[in-house]
């Protein structure tokens, strides 16, 4: 078997929910040995049976060891494990890991070149460092909610959006830190604020406020540089196709496709400026055509004519219908022997021309306890058994 890309890198993973696990999924799916430290005492998250929740997706190719870190002996086990590792990742509320006795200052003593990354809502310092939250709410604080929705209505909802920005910056920081360690031999502490990560994706609007004092707000599905530009209704229950037309050439092609080439002569729609001015009327016309076709047909007809268009895909479209994602093997099927299969994407968001990913199903709770404690930490069986019995390895 070919060597895995991150073979030999060991990660102690204290993280849960989304940002942390998505970060370490990038590492584990590339072959790093990511050991989730979890506990049967911790509420929520991975309590469900295999194949019952998204956590199966987030934890692929990882190992699981269960430790009660509230017990001093458990804490000691976690520290010993850090001594055998390259990277530590945690995403508890700001400051919590330090209070647990597992802060960077402590871990650095055990492993001087350790790379430790904390990813929290607002970072480890500052007056709001311990303000509890989740990506759902942080999406509001980061300014995204204010630019999502219709101008005549309140901001729309998009779930925990910033939870999908932060992992990218985490992955980038980790990969950069690994390179820096290779070159200098030095580890480091990385304090990530999901708030600050999210604002990176607001950058042009931050500059607009700074330079022009313009406060960006939501403008529905409109774009200043395209019309038609919207999601349009199609045949079927709640089926839609997005279409966007920017150039005059695309507009001519679009009018050909809808069988109304004369529309290009219509003064209301002849230029982008005119189309923007009469956008409501334009949207109505487009919708009257799209509703006679399936979303797939609209997409195919438009794309064949050189106009950007795409089905507003549902989970079903993504997993079972989209031929492009299928061709690229985007979703991988994984198996829990005797339980069943499930599908998830690779934790790294790209294909490599000289590397093939290999994924394993998420581990069961404590599945790798024997490997982690007996093999890695060379713990005698007797000690292991008694720590299990006393609930330290829980």
């Amino acid at each position: 078997m070919a060597k895995k890309l991150l073979e030999g890198i060991r990660v102690v993973d204290f993280s849960w929910h989304l940002t942390g696990p998505l970060t370490t999924k990038h590492l584990s799916d590339l072959g790093a040995e990511v050991i989730i430290i979890e506990s049967r005492r911790r509420p929520g998250w991975r309590r469900g049976a295999p194949r019952s929740s998204s956590t199966d997706q987030y934890c692929t190719s990882k190992l699981s060891a269960t430790i009660n870190t509230r017990d001093p002996r458990g804490l000691e086990l976690a520290k010993r494990l850090v001594g055998h590792s390259d990277i530590v990742i945690e995403n508890f509320a700001g400051g919590a890991i330090k209070r647990m006795g597992l802060g960077y200052e402590v871990l650095k003593e055990i492993k001087p070149d350790i790379i430790m990354l904390s990813t929290s809502m607002q970072g480890q310092t500052g007056p709001h460092f311990d303000h509890p939250g989740s990506g759902h709410k942080l999406t509001a604080l980061t300014g995204f909610s204010n630019i999502l929705g219709w101008s005549d209505r309140k901001p729309a909802w998009i779930g925990a959006y910033t939870d999908f920005i932060a992992p990218r910056y985490n992955m980038l920081a980790i990969m950069a830190a690994l390179e820096y360690r290779r070159r200098t031999g030095k580890g480091q502490y990385i304090d990530m604020s999901q708030y600050e990560n999210g604002i990176q994706f607001m950058a042009p609007l931050v500059l607009d406020y700074s330079a022009n004092r313009r406060v960006a707000s939501r403008t529905g599905n409109q774009s200043p540089s395209a019309a038609p530009y919207n999601a349009y209704p199609c045949i079927g229950e709640d089926r839609w196709c997005s279409i966007s037309v920017s150039t005059d050439e695309e507009w001519r092609s679009f009018c050909q496709v809808i069988g109304n080439p004369g529309l290009t002569e219509d003064a209301r729609f002849a230029t982008l400026t005119a189309r923007k001015e009469n956008e409501e009327e334009l949207d109505r016309l487009v919708g009257e055509w799209t509703i006679q076709h399936t979303a797939e047909a609209v997409m195919n007809l438009m794309q064949d004519a050189g106009v950007a268009a795409g089905v507003v895909e549902t989970g079903e479209d993504l997993l079972d219908k989209d031929p492009q994602l299928k061709h690229r093997n985007f979703f991988r099927e994984l198996e829990y022997p005797g339980i069943g299969t499930y599908r998830t994407q690779v934790g790294s968001h790209f294909l490599l021309s000289k590397y093939e990913y290999e994924l394993k199903a998420a581990p069961l709770l404590g599945e790798h306890n024997e490997y982690v404690f007996k093999e890695l930490l060379a713990m005698p069986s007797k000690e292991y058994d008694s720590l299990v019995e006393e609930g330290v390895i829980d």
Binding site: S53, H136, K137, A140, L141, N212, T314, H349, K354
Partner: protein
């Protein structure tokens, strides 16, 4: 090879050639902010993305695009027409000393020019090419077009959002999809770099913008895969719930994000209920309600209304700033729906010295930028310089590094190569 003297960064020994347009600009910025020596290679006259607004003082000008500024920090800039033979030869010379090439042309375009990955690999076996395209380098859609709304739709991040009486919705303003793809490009670049240290070879990193969006989905694919469930496109009624829940609430001067989740870990109600009570906002119902009910998600609409009614009134009597202050003090999972103006006032961001003032001497102005994406104990990422002007570093690169003579330089300019 790579010039010294740049401030030390995690990637300061690497050279990046950035050919990317609108869809891939963030990739090079991130590598540049991490210390790499990034050269933005634009077509003569400048990249079309310079025509994307907003603009400084609303003056449309390729040197005044705030969109361009935001995504091209920490880069140098040269112009080069790679569609000419001489341009291609110059580009190949640059590739010899480059570690990364970032590009966002349609698949096959660079191959036609003799500058695709197989050609560049022959010139420099270690070079890593990051290709950012709408659907990736392979597959039936590889030659199709995209736009932000199309990428958001096909990535699956549009269907569940919006309200049932209107179309599905995506973010206003600049493309979020392209930023995800750009960030993924930077991660891919460093992943391929790690691989290069073990194999000695570069490779092509293939980014699909559609897939970058699909990497932003919470539960949507699992719900279909495990339960054949598709979420309804409404804001407030969650699957399996016995009631609608308000998620975005009006307050005195805007909106706040808050939801009542009983004793759930992600939306505990009690801290807010207690604060409201301290402020004199309560009811018999709120006092007697059992907040530890494990079946909170299935309480009736009547019960939820009795909880949400006083909550709505409480919020309407207070500003975003007042509600945030109380939320911090009382550890309530409530955050305001911030505007960009609110963010610039944040005491948290100020305390962490997040904002970076970047000088634009040509404009006689200093503009506030989002600062480092990470606080690191070693060589933190930083904006090392503002975005380059068109061809700002052409002389430096061509004359000093490639040893092109003044005469040749002038002649190349006249021929439209640079």
């Amino acid at each position: 090879m790579v010039e010294k003297g740049k401030t030390e960064g995690m990637l300061s020994s690497y050279r990046v050639l950035d050919l990317a347009g609108e869809t891939g600009l963030l990739c090079g910025k991130l590598l540049g902010d991490l210390g790499a020596d990034v050269i933005k290679v634009e077509r003569p006259g400048g990249d079309p993305a310079r025509s994307i607004g907003p603009f400084y003082h609303d003056e449309p000008d390729p040197e005044k695009s705030l969109f361009w500024f935001a995504l091209n920090t920490s880069k140098k800039g040269i112009t080069l027409n790679i569609e000419t033979g001489e341009g291609q030869e110059i580009f190949k010379k640059l590739v010899k000393n480059a570690d990364f090439v970032i590009e966002s042309f349609p698949p096959g375009y660079l191959d036609e020019l003799g500058l695709g990955y197989p050609a560049l690999e022959k010139i420099n076996p270690e070079v890593i090419m990051v290709s950012i395209t709408p659907y990736g380098q392979t597959g039936p859609y590889k030659d199709w077009k995209t736009s932000d709304i199309v990428a958001w739709a096909m990535g699956g991040n549009m269907a569940p959002w919006g309200e049932s009486d209107r179309p599905p919705i995506h973010f206003s303003h600049h493309s979020q999809a392209y930023l995800h793809a750009g960030a993924d490009g930077a991660i891919g670049a460093l992943t391929a770099l790690y691989h290069r240290w073990t194999t000695g070879e570069g490779q092509q990193v293939d980014i699909s913008i559609q897939e970058a969006v699909t990497q932003c989905l919470e539960h949507i694919t699992a719900n279909w895969d495990l339960r054949q469930a598709l979420p309804k496109r409404t804001e407030e009624l969650r699957a399996g719930a016995g009631h609608s829940t308000t998620l975005i609430w009006p307050c005195k001067d805007g909106y706040v994000s808050w939801s009542h989740g009983g004793n759930s870990v992600l939306a505990p109600s009690l801290p807010l209920i207690r604060w409201m009570e301290e402020e004199g906002v309560t009811s018999e119902f709120l006092k007697e309600f059992d907040w530890s009910r494990p079946d909170f998600a299935r309480i009736s609409q009547e019960e939820m209304d009795q909880i949400e009614g006083p909550t709505a009134g409480f919020f309407m009597s207070r500003t975003k700033a007042e509600l945030l202050e109380g939320a911090v003090k009382n550890k309530i999972m409530l955050y305001p729906v911030a505007t960009t103006a609110d963010m610039l006032e944040s005491t948290q961001l100020a305390a962490r010295e997040f904002w970076t003032e970047v000088e634009h001497p040509e404009l006689g102005a200093t503009i506030t930028y989002p600062g480092a994406f990470a606080h690191t104990s070693e060589v933190p990422p930083r904006i090392s310089c503002r975005a380059p002007l068109i061809g700002e570093h052409s002389k430096e690169i061509y004359l000093e590094e490639l040893d092109i003579s003044e005469e040749e330089f002038t002649s190349l300019k006249q021929k439209g190569v640079i």
